[in-house]
Symmetry: C2
C-alpha cells in the first residue's frame, strides 16, 4: 500500500486522484504535485527503521514513494540510487566552507540522476498495465528511459531531433529503444511524440507532464538526508535546466520535513549558465519567466523554455535560496576542480559546484557554512568537453633525464 | 589487524613477508600470491555476520583483505565495489540456461572493475608511507588509479604511449594525474615508467608486479558469492587480457572456499578474442604461452604479451574451465544483446558474455546450467564501438502517418 493520497495542481490548487496515468491539471493545465499521508508515513517508518533496511536502491524509501510495493518487487530493475555522498574536506577548506559533501549521481546505471525518474516511470507504467513507454529527448532522460525499460523488458519509442549527437543515439539503440530521428527541430519532434503517444496510448515519460517523475527524482534528497543522519546542511547546490531536478530535490526535503524526519530545510543554491538562465532571471528580477537563448556547453541544462519553471521557482523562493549563473569557462574549471577529488562530472553535472565556488568567492555564502553539492551526470557522457577542460599532457622522448628536466621546467619537480 | 600471512611465488613456491612494497619473487622473478590464515578468518567472520554489515563497498570483506583496517578507515576513498548482480531470466531462457546473472562492474566510480585494484593500491601505498603512485597504461588501470588516488589526495605519474586516445588521456588529466605522453611505443613507455619508479621511489601500480592488485580484484568474486547467498553457480564467464582479472576472480573464490564460505568452486569460462588469445591457446594446446598479435576492437583485452599468464592459466586449469575465443562481430553483438537488458558494457567488458553465448550455442555448456557473466567495463568508455554495434535509427519527417507507415514497412507495427 502507498501513502500517496492525491495529485494537487501547483497553480490553482485543484485536487485529483493519484491514478498511475494522471498528467497535468484538467482545470488550468498546471503541473501536479503528489501529496501524502505524512502522519501515516511517520507511524510506518522512522530513521532507526530505515537504518536497518538492506535495500540499497532508491526503493528503500518505499513509504515516501507513490507506488505499490508489490509492483516494484515484481519488476526487473536496474540498481538506481544510493549513490555516494563524498565528504571533501580539502575542497571545503579551499572554498572557506565549514563542511562540504559531493553527491555523485553520475554513478547511476545509465550515468545520470535521471535514472531515478525513469525507474519511477517504469513502475507507474506497470501499475497502469502498460509496457510501452515513450518520450522525446536526446539526453539523459532518453538514455535512462531506454535502459530502465530494457531491464524490465518493456518497449520504448524515443523521438530525437535529427541533430542529436550520434554517440547519444547509439546508447539508445544499444538499449534496444525504437529511436525515431525526426527531420525537424525539437518542437516538431516533441509534437510528433505527443501525437503518437495519444494515438497509441503509450505511457508518457515527458518531464513536467508526468508528476511521478519528480517523485523519483526526490529520492536524491531523501538519500542526502539519510547519509547525513538527517542533520541537514545549510545549503544544497544544484544545476537547473527545465526545473524538474531542483523541484524533485526540494519535494524530497519537504516530504521529509512534513513527516518529521528533519527539523530544518536547507537553502537551495540554483545554478544556471550565464548563456541560459530563464528561471534564475525570473527569481532574481521577481518577474514571470521568459524564454532565453541556449548558449552553453552544458547541454543537459541548455533549456531556454523550461518545462517546469513553477516548481523550480517555488524551490528557490520557499527555501530562501540563492541564484548563481556561471560561464562555460567556470563550468569547465569545475570539471577539473572536482576531478581533483576523483569525481568526474559532465558539464551540466558540475554546474552546481561551479556555482557554489562562485557563491563562496562572491561572499553570497557565509564562511564556515555546511553545503552539499549535487553532481547530476557522469563526465564520460561528454568526453569532448572533458578534453577542453583537462588540458594537454607533457610530451617527451623516453629518456629519464628529459623527464626530470621537463618537470623542473614546469615548476613541479618530481618527488 | 590483517589475516594475510605471507606472499608465495606461484612459480617456485618461495615464501616472503607480505610487506606493503613486496613485488615479485626475489629468487625466480615469478609473481607472488598472498596467503591468509584461513582458520583465523573462519573464526572472525561468518556469512551471517557479513549480512549484517552496513559497509557497501569492497571493504566490507575486510577479513579477506591484506590491509590494516585502521589505514583503510583513514583514507578518503571512492565508493568502489558492491556492484549489482542482475538476474536476467529472459536471456537465460534464450541461451538455454537454467539461470543467468550478470555482474555489472562498469558501475564502479571510474567505470571499470580496475577500480578494485587501484583502491587497493592506494591503501597499500599508504601503509608503505608513500603518497605518490605511478603506472604505465592507457586504459582502465590508468583512469582508475588517477581517480582513486585523487580522492585520497595523492599524486600520480601516469606514462602513456603517444598513440593513446585523447578521450582517455583527458580523463586522466581531469583527475589531476601527471600524465607523461611518451614519444615511443608501449615497451619504451613501460621502461621509462620503471626507471622513474626506481629512481624516485614511487609506489608501483604496474599490474602483475604488485601482488596486492589482484587482492583488490578478487572482491568481485567475494561479492558474486555473497550476492548468491554463497550458493555457487556452475560457471562464471569473464574476458581475459593480461590475466590479472581472471586470476583475481579465481583467487577470491579459492579464498572463500578455504575459509569454508562456499562448498564448491565454479568452472571458469575464459573468453579471449580470436584476434588475440595467447592464454587460451596455451591452455587449449597444453603448451607454454607465446606472444600473439593484438587484432581486436576490445582494446582492454588486446594483450599479445600477457603479464600474468601463470595465474590466468591456473584459474582455467584448476577450475576445469572452458576456453572460448570470439570475433569482433560477436563482441559487438554481445554489446547489443546485453543492452537489451539495460546493461551497457564496453567491448572488452561484454566479451565474457559473447563467449558464454558461443559456448551455449556450441554445446560446451550443458542445458540448464547456472552461470554468472562478469561485465568488466562501462560502454560509455568506448562510444565509437557502441555506434558500430547499435545500428542506425529510423529517420522521417514529423508526420504521424509516415511514422506508422515506416514501422509497418520495418515489420514491427506500432503498438
Amino acid at each position: 500500500m502507498s501513502f500517496a493520497r492525491s495529485a494537487v495542481c501547483v497553480k490553482c490548487g485543484a485536487e485529483f486522484e493519484a491514478t498511475p496515468t494522471v498528467t497535468t491539471c484538467k482545470k488550468c493545465g498546471g503541473i501536479l504535485d503528489i501529496k501524502y499521508d505524512y502522519e501515516g508515513i511517520k507511524k510506518a517508518l522512522t530513521p532507526a527503521k530505515l537504518k536497518d533496511r538492506r535495500e540499497q536502491t532508491m526503493w528503500r524509501y518505499m513509504e515516501f514513494l507513490p507506488v505499490d510495493p508489490d509492483v516494484v518487487g515484481r519488476i526487473n530493475k536496474l540498481k538506481v540510487g544510493c549513490s555516494p555522498l563524498y565528504k571533501v574536506d580539502r575542497l571545503a577548506e579551499k572554498l572557506g566552507l565549514g563542511s562540504l559533501w559531493v553527491k555523485d549521481d553520475g554513478i547511476n546505471p545509465t550515468a545520470s540522476l535521471k535514472d531515478r525518474a525513469s525507474a519511477m516511470a517504469v513502475v507507474k507504467a506497470t501499475e497502469a498495465g502498460m509496457t510501452t513507454i515513450a518520450c522525446s529527448s536526446t539526453g539523459n532522460a532518453a538514455s535512462s528511459l531506454a535502459g530502465n525499460a530494457a531491464a524490465a523488458g518493456y518497449k520504448t519509442y524515443i523521438f530525437v531531433p535529427e541533430r542529436a549527437p550520434k554517440g547519444k543515439v547509439s546508447q539508445l539503440m544499444i538499449f534496444g529503444a525504437n529511436v525515431i530521428s525526426v527531420e525537424g527541430n525539437y518542437e516538431e519532434t516533441f509534437k510528433l511524440s505527443a501525437e503518437a503517444i495519444d494515438r497509441f496510448g503509450w505511457y508518457n515519460r515527458n518531464a513536467a507532464i508526468n508528476p511521478y517523475l519528480m517523485e523519483g527524482k526526490k529520492t536524491v534528497g531523501l538519500e542526502i538526508a539519510e547519509q547525513l543522519d538527517f542533520k541537514m546542511p545549510d545549503y544544497i547546490a544544484i544545476s537547473v535546466g527545465d526545473g524538474c531536478t531542483i523541484g524533485g530535490l526540494w519535494k524530497g526535503l519537504k516530504d521529509l520535513h512534513a513527516a518529521g524526519f528533519i527539523d530544518r530545510l536547507p537553502r537551495i543554491i540554483s545554478v544556471q549558465s550565464t548563456g541560459c538562465y530563464p528561471i534564475n532571471r525570473a527569481v532574481m528580477e521577481n518577474k514571470p519567466w521568459e524564454p532565453m537563448e541556449e548558449n552553453t556547453i552544458a547541454d543537459s541544462i541548455a533549456v531556454g523554455v523550461p518545462r517546469n519553471p513553477d516548481k523550480a521557482m517555488n524551490a528557490i523562493r520557499e527555501s530562501n535560496g540563492i541564484c548563481v549563473n556561471v560561464t562555460d569557462e567556470e563550468i569547465l574549471a569545475a570539471m577539473k576542480l572536482l576531478g581533483g577529488y576523483g569525481i568526474f562530472g559532465e558539464p551540466a553535472g558540475v554546474t552546481g559546484t561551479a556555482g557554489l565556488k562562485k557563491a563562496c568567492e562572491e561572499g553570497l555564502i557565509p564562511k564556515g557554512a555546511s553545503v552539499v553539492s549535487v553532481v547530476t551526470g557522469n563526465g564520460l557522457k561528454d568526453t569532448a568537453n572533458a578534453i577542453k577542460a583537462a588540458g594537454e599532457p607533457m610530451k617527451l622522448r623516453p629518456e629519464l633525464p628529459l623527464l626530470i628536466e621537463a618537470f623542473k621546467k614546469a615548476g613541479k619537480p618530481l618527488e
